[in-house]
Subunit: 456 residues, 2 copies
């Protein structure tokens, strides 16, 4: 496969320049003022696909941000790979913690630093360049379709409907996705499970207006104190979630599967050091890998209320808020869980405050089988490049749309991610190692080759 190596070598700088152009458009889907940037990013993708060799590429409207769709059909009898990615990114705050501008990519120590460097501009762009490579070197062995959406970071609210409406166009044998991480730089792995997500916002209202904490403190319920009590009560002393019915649909993983998972390398000391923490914390009776892989969790993603400026203000706030998300395991339904949360949270609020729970978004979990031609092809492709067979593993993250693809399109996905934990996705100073980027471009054409062969 020297063709692959040579083509990458010869086009290295151009690949990066093109990726940087994509990254420079601040396509933050959760902030409405970035609406014009979404369209610019979609245009950029459309051009990228056409230049790479797509027969056609278009920006297709949805009820929300548009989807970029492109395809190259070389022979209807050959298998078809549908590449999924997203062109939207997370917000960048806290902005003051960034060492370089989030939308001006910078290479330091062999890594690209920028919002979206990994998630998912860097990873999805590997597919555009691998596709170009196969087209230009006449080695494309399958039909290819691209579906690049702009709402993944806000839960893909419009994609389900769009997929249902375009089911025929999207017909494929496998969906190929790079939006996940490997266990470690030298530990290639393929994600075979994703957690679901139920994300809610809660609002606690005490008095109708902010009060002087001296004149009213101690006599009137303080919504910030009440919110703290409510949140604190959501976990028991064993760090289990206290919402009635929360664990009802959780499938317990067998002792055998747990033993299998335990073979993945994990160094607790290194883990603690990399996060600068003195101790870990999680549900009793489970290992760290299990806590993120096979168990549901509940986290405060944001909390605010009262005076949060410089200095001191003696206010008894009228309102306090929190954004709370629950990661779910396969078989837990995100809508049911959001409703259980709402019912429970409202029921435990004292009469002295009013509580409002608003579900923001959600998605189901996912499990991929490891005995399919697609999984085997992915495993072989990784082994070709790394010389090691990759470990199948369950990630704690969520790509809500993956389970929807299965339900709506009837197609299973392969989660061939090249991210690393140290990439700090969703955080300040997100990065993506150049080596991972180019390795990805090198693995992908091999996947197509094995997949075409195994599908014969």
């Amino acid at each position: 496969m020297d063709t692959i190596k040579t083509y990458i070598e010869e086009n290295k700088q151009r690949f990066l320049d093109e990726l940087f152009g994509l990254i420079r458009i601040p396509s933050i889907s959760s902030i409405s003022e970035h609406k014009p940037d979404m369209m610019k990013t979609a245009e950029y993708w459309k051009e990228t696909l056409l230049k790479a060799g797509a027969d056609k590429a278009e920006i297709m409207p949805t009820t929300g941000n548009s989807v970029v769709y492109g395809e190259k059909i070389i022979d209807p009898k050959l298998p078809t790979v549908l590449v999924y990615g997203h062109y939207d990114v997370m917000p960048v705050d806290p902005i003051d913690l960034w060492k370089s501008k989030p939308f001006e990519p910078e290479i330091r120590d062999g890594k690209i630093y920028a919002r979206g460097a990994d998630d998912d501009k860097g990873q999805s762009f590997m597919h555009a360049k691998a596709f170009e490579l196969m087209v230009k070197t006449n080695t494309l062995p399958c039909n290819v379709k691209f579906m690049i959406e702009g709402e993944e970071e806000i839960g893909s609210p419009s994609l389900t409907k769009w997929c249902a409406e375009n089911k025929d166009m999207l017909k494929a044998d496998v969906i190929l996705v790079s939006d996940t991480s490997m266990i470690g730089k030298d530990v290639p792995s393929i994600t075979t499970g994703l957690r679901g997500l139920a994300y809610v916002e809660v609002e606690v209202t005490g008095p109708s207006h902010d009060l002087h904490s001296g004149l009213f403190g101690g006599a009137v319920a303080n919504p910030a104190n009440v919110l703290a009590k409510l949140i604190a009560s959501l976990h028991d002393e064993n760090n289990r979630i206290t919402i009635p019915g929360f664990y009802d649909d959780v499938l317990e993983v067998s002792a055998e599967e747990r033993a299998d998972m335990a073979r993945a390398p994990f160094n607790l000391d290194k883990y603690k050091t990399s996060l600068d923490i003195d101790d870990i914390k999680g549900e009793q009776g489970y290992t760290t890998m299990e806590r993120t892989g096979i168990r549901p969790t509940l986290d405060v993603n944001g909390i605010w209320g009262g005076y949060i400026g410089e200095g001191a203000k003696t206010v008894l706030p009228s309102k306090a808020y929190a954004k709370i998300s629950m990661r779910l395991v396969p078989n837990q339904d995100h809508e049911k869980i959001a409703q259980l949360f709402k019912k429970h949270f409202e029921s435990i609020a004292p009469k002295s405050v009013k509580v409002k729970v608003t579900p923001l978004h959600g998605g189901q979990g996912y499990v991929a089988p490891t005995n399919t031609p697609a999984y085997i092809a992915a495993s072989k492709a990784v082994e070709d490049v790394y010389g090691i067979k990759p470990i199948p593993f369950r990630s704690g993250g969520s790509i809500p749309i993956i389970s929807t693809f299965e339900q709506v399109l009837g197609i299973k996905s392969i989660l061939l991610g090249f991210g690393l934990e140290s990439d700090a996705i969703h955080s300040p100073n997100e990065s993506f190692p150049l080596e991972q980027f180019f390795t990805g471009i090198s693995v992908i054409p091999r996947f197509y080759k094995h997949f075409a062969e195994l599908s014969k």
Copy 2:
């Protein structure tokens, strides 16, 4: 006393115009960018005192914001009244809840709406105008000194030292202060007790950087969840504060005194309606008036951490913060309490996070006796105008400097406040009824008259 009535009638509009000029300067002491406004406000006060008839007025530097000092000594043998007030105000956020601009006073329904309308520009300005009235009508019966500071809302950090350095200059028989509220519009009252204050900021740090809540949630301690647990644990099921030693120095108020306090009018239904709450909440075994008057309390004044913008972000934050203040009763030492808090809070934090507690500011509580010439003069002055003897009562608020005056200058204060609970001080839409403003100007000269007579 028709002189008083006539002078006020004839100068009503000018008094308001001058007060509005004072209010228009945004002298927020807790926000450093307002530094230049502090000096402008001090200048305004200096001019006000000189025009009113002060022999001298000057802006005196301190280690922080300057103090405006002015005096009129008519006869060293006559008693001297030292007027204390403050020219700084609270921040204005949340700004979007204001119905008119906070620093552009507007009269609606007989009330002045603006930041500082009551606290303390409106109330302190009554003294400037009452002083002018007595000078211009040749009815001033005492020597007068003014001490108007610019750091009350941040705990008067520089005033103690300044007072100690100017002890001779500040010699007086009583300190007269209008920075408190009456029980109700038709329930004149004089504040005889103030709570102390210990204000701290806490910082909880989990991982060294924000993490993806899917990849790490459930395995790494979330500082926002931990902060909620820590705050929740600060009150027990009876709403008593759980910090060891917190209540050690609290003087229990006798059954007799409590019975006395219970005679003050209080309508729970009206109280709940005015705040739009369905229930009150506070320490078990005490009434609402007792909870704010004679009991110490703990309130979250602000809480923040993680993503607090629009939409959803699945972040496991690195840090979470809270501003927490404790209102103290006389005999509790604010420095000791801040240390008890710090020690306790740090001790209950789990090993999975790091906790930092920073005391921001504080002050001691205060109790004024009701058998002094000054108190009796104030009581008579109020009765002259209202036709009812005022009720002595203990307020839940804090003016930390009042107890310091007693310690450093050896002078007791009279807290002759004309604010109302509905003035929403420290909140959006702070207001001050015109009637309270002019009533105050009418009561104050009567205080001077009675005080001069009773001091003979």
